[in-house]
Symmetry: D2
Subunit: 338 residues, 4 copies
């Protein structure tokens, strides 16, 4: 059960509500986000929801049978829209493209990528400065200095930044220089990181775990939301299966399923999902027509020279074509929805 | 190596070619399909391909590094087109829809389905008369009598039939009453069945195995082709993974990968792939935009009363909408290809 | 519900029982095996089991909540013992070893293998004469002539034969020359083959499917049992997962789970499960201590020269050591059970 | 290539070595553990290893073709033995049992568990004070206060403690109260945590990821080793597959494979691997006979009352039996090795 409280609720009203809920032996988690205050109540007893809903100080009350509560579409039927400022919104009728290199490498590389994005009317640039790598001997990213340089150049160009945060201690230093925190596939169940991102007032994109289920992804979002941050996106990026002809198996089913189960925007990452440059376009378009609110993909002026993930990175010519095709595909999708 | 022989090759020419190939210790499989004659040669020695290619009686010669040979796009760059007669073709620029119930149930059901297909300009009807079921106590289909009734009604209406063949002994009795033999996901590696279907002069659609790889699907097609039948289609129908929110995981990556590796038409089955009626449409459209040459899906006038698979079967209203959306999506795909 | 009938039940008694069951709207499948006669009844209504159990002609009656019935340990608590004659039994207190090459290759090879088995007191020899191969260009086995030669030599030596049957039409020609029919991992859900093996009065070993579940394996056994054959063994042989350091992933959990769910003997195939010669022993011993009733493994005098599966085949020296270790391990297991 | 340096190497010698290696364009990582100093060198050029090996200051030099280096058995053929003090060693001829509850719950619970361990001659107690939970509304452990209480009681009894560390900031507060840090399955690729644990002079047990490969587990250990900590154990705890009859699929193959690929001790966790109390014993014994150096399992005086994982937790009677059986099984394994 989710109880949304009035913003001007007073202490005695709140105590009365909590006492009534404790009376039916429900566990209460108080959730105060930047926008709203909730009581998330978990328990087993059956009761008349109206007898609680009528108490003063309650704006709205919902039963939620899912094990995740706050991210469920069962209580919040309106889709979440994330506002990045400067007229840039994600979700519910906007189609968002985020593009850029796997790793931030140099001033020159940043400059050329920004130029490419501006020419194609893209407002959000992706790039890694902290890189999770299987081997300790691989390139691990430029770190905070790379991020500062990037932020300086991007903000002048009016471009927003999404970048991966790998651990709690990086949140504070990164905070001033990113517009969206990305949680990578290896950290989807790093619960401490999720908890801390709940205290931040910037949006978070959560990638599905390497072999994460749809429900686990929703639970991970529930962690962030219940710790205080409502501005969340879910990202399908392929799952690990036995199939070896592609890097991962993009779970196209997950897109409509996530859209139905949750009110959060759903973004797809076709680059990691298939891992083969010449097939990224087909898979990206599939995600758009299946209902994704956005696509995040890797592009680089010279993929063959990229520090990482070159084999799945589009060059700028391929990127430009993909962007146009995705927009046409999204328009067709919108027509269907009418 | 694939050697395509001249149709008018004489015996001594053929012997000379075979003797030369045996000289480099390659194993030869002679393949005579309804249309062409090939020598498929497997071995390890390096040699000058021109020294063989110049022999009389050879129309064309190709090195094929893939382990599957005849179904590879490495030697046959033109896409295969399957001609069902009456102007109905599958592959390479035609978009094919096959629809119908999971199981053929009754005369009434057949009649209503045919009516629905005709109204939507669909020429191929799917339906099972032999049903593979996990439990021996489940409905196993109407069998050959159901097929005869169906064929009688469908042929009058100008509708072609695709239906699953489960074992060798069913091929002959089914032969006169189907236009396409379907090999189900549990029989993708039933090599005896594949061998026998190679001797038949009707097209075969092969479903990917329940946990089959892309390469295994191509090998299964190689069985049929090398036994004599070139008219083959490959069908992606979802694979088994750990994810439980859908019946199977549709491997959208497989569609562009199969299209690249093979010259055979690729068909998608969204119904089995996701297994949830209200999401079939999104997944079907994804397959179309990703490059599928066709889609096969389940529809029934009253899905709730279907003998099998009702939970993933569209009613006629949903089916009609899907058909229109798929055609618009295919048109957009074609525009991209220009 | 399973109703075991008296062997001397008369027609009017049986009709009375069936009429009573139809009265509660249960579907009845009449199962007549070589040993017993059953009615398997599937339905949803609640009823007093005693009101049926008291009818004349019924020896025993059991509720079985599992979806598989006849193979369930819920109704038959005594473990099935399979009697191959000549004092050779499988299951419930006997530990059975079956060994031999992947493929039967030659008279010389058969002779040396039999010698090796006799020296180690092994009574059952495995070997393939029909080989399921992914590629149509691979060696497919010596066929029926190889089997006849093998049977001639084995029967003189007092050795029993287990060999894979790939299709219905092979059952009859193989019948006189095998002691156990093996259903391979690619045919676990070849329901026609299972049905036909139900009519045979020789034991059947069913391998788990390449990505088959424990329940699907039990259902496949239910097919054979319900078609009339009670002499069944289940075989764990590794499942397909994402892990690439071994050929398959042996599901050691499945051994105690199958032993609990079913009364049928459980056999393990470590050779296919790991696919790496030097590790077969460790995995084989694990299966024995976990409760397997038998182990089937591949051995060859010169594995490097084997026509197939050489990389997972033990030489005779390794085989001899493994046999001794397995027997010691089984003895320890028996001590624990006291 | 791994170069083990002499402990008394001087600066100019080291510089000479590094300069020679840079001359062949290899990347050098300097690794100083609590015991030894290494240069790990990664590159592609071919060279004469003796021309480097003869330089002064080098104790030993090895080519290592694996992508992981320091944890590979290719350079260190002697098995690692971890010394916990007080005569307690892990690895190479010692069989180690670690047992205890999923979560530390209360003083009473700790006391009864310690009593049980002492009675059975077990020296290492497991238990969680920080619990990774899919849902933010589940019990997350007693935290550092629980750990202090536990440590106080355990050290008096001469019992060592292994407990999970979930994030970098927990390392320092936990340091004084644990004997082994455990990295959980959701943190196997939390590279920052691994890096930091490399700086600690206490042993680390690394669980395989939920869908981690054998190689990824070795890479994760390489992170910790290359950051300075040699005292590592690898733990097989089951992987995620499609099979639903058990919680995870214990990958028994991984035990001999890890033992061969690495010199580190290998521990098995049967409790999480199967997740069903009555089957834990069979799976545990399988791991012992397959070559595990130790087993970690869950036990609780009253499993039904445990705060977490009760369904897979043994009661003390079952635990006692398992301990005896594991020791007998290990003895048999040792006999085989002679």
């Amino acid at each position: 059960m989710i109880i949304q409280l009035e913003n001007d609720i007073n202490t005695s009203q709140k105590e009365a509500i909590k006492s009534r809920i404790e009376g039916i032996h429900y566990m209460i988690t108080e959730v105060n986000t930047q926008r709203n205050n909730y009581l998330v109540c978990v328990g087993k007893a059956d009761f008349d929801i109206r007898s609680i809903g009528n108490l003063p100080g309650i704006r709205d009350i919902h039963r939620v049978s899912d094990d995740y509560k706050l991210v469920s579409s069962k209580w919040k039927t309106r889709h979440t829209v994330i506002d990045l400022g400067d007229g840039i919104r994600i979700g519910n009728g906007e189609f968002t493209i985020m593009a850029g290199p796997c790793s931030i490498e140099s001033e020159e590389q940043i400059a050329r990528t920004i130029e490419h994005l501006k020419a194609n009317n893209i407002s959000i640039m992706r790039g890694g400065v902290y890189k999770p790598r299987s081997s300790p001997y691989s390139f691990r990213g430029l770190g905070i200095d790379g991020l500062k340089l990037w932020h300086d150049m991007a903000s002048k160009a009016g471009i927003k930044i999404i970048s991966e945060v790998m651990q709690v201690s990086q949140i504070e230093p990164m905070y001033d220089y990113v517009d969206i925190f990305q949680v990578g596939a290896r950290n989807t169940q790093n619960f401490n990181l999720l908890d801390e991102l709940g205290k931040v007032d910037k949006p978070v994109l959560i990638k599905r775990g390497i072999s994460g289920t749809v429900d686990e992804l929703l639970y991970s979002a529930e962690y962030v939301f219940s710790a205080g941050n409502e501005d969340l996106m879910l990202c399908e990026r392929g799952i690990r299966t036995y199939e070896r002809s592609s890097r991962n198996t993009l779970d196209i089913n997950a897109i409509p399923i996530l859209k139905e189960k949750s009110h959060l925007p759903v973004v797809a990452d076709p680059s990691h999902a298939i891992g083969i440059r010449r097939h990224v376009t087909d898979v990206a378009l599939a995600c758009v027509i299946a209902g994704a609110d956005g696509v995040i993909f890797e592009t680089h002026e010279e993929p063959a020279l990229a520090y990482s993930d070159g084999q799945q990175t589009l060059d700028f010519g391929q990127s430009e074509k993909l962007i146009k095709m995705m927009r046409s595909t999204y328009d067709l999708r919108e027509e269907f929805a009418i």
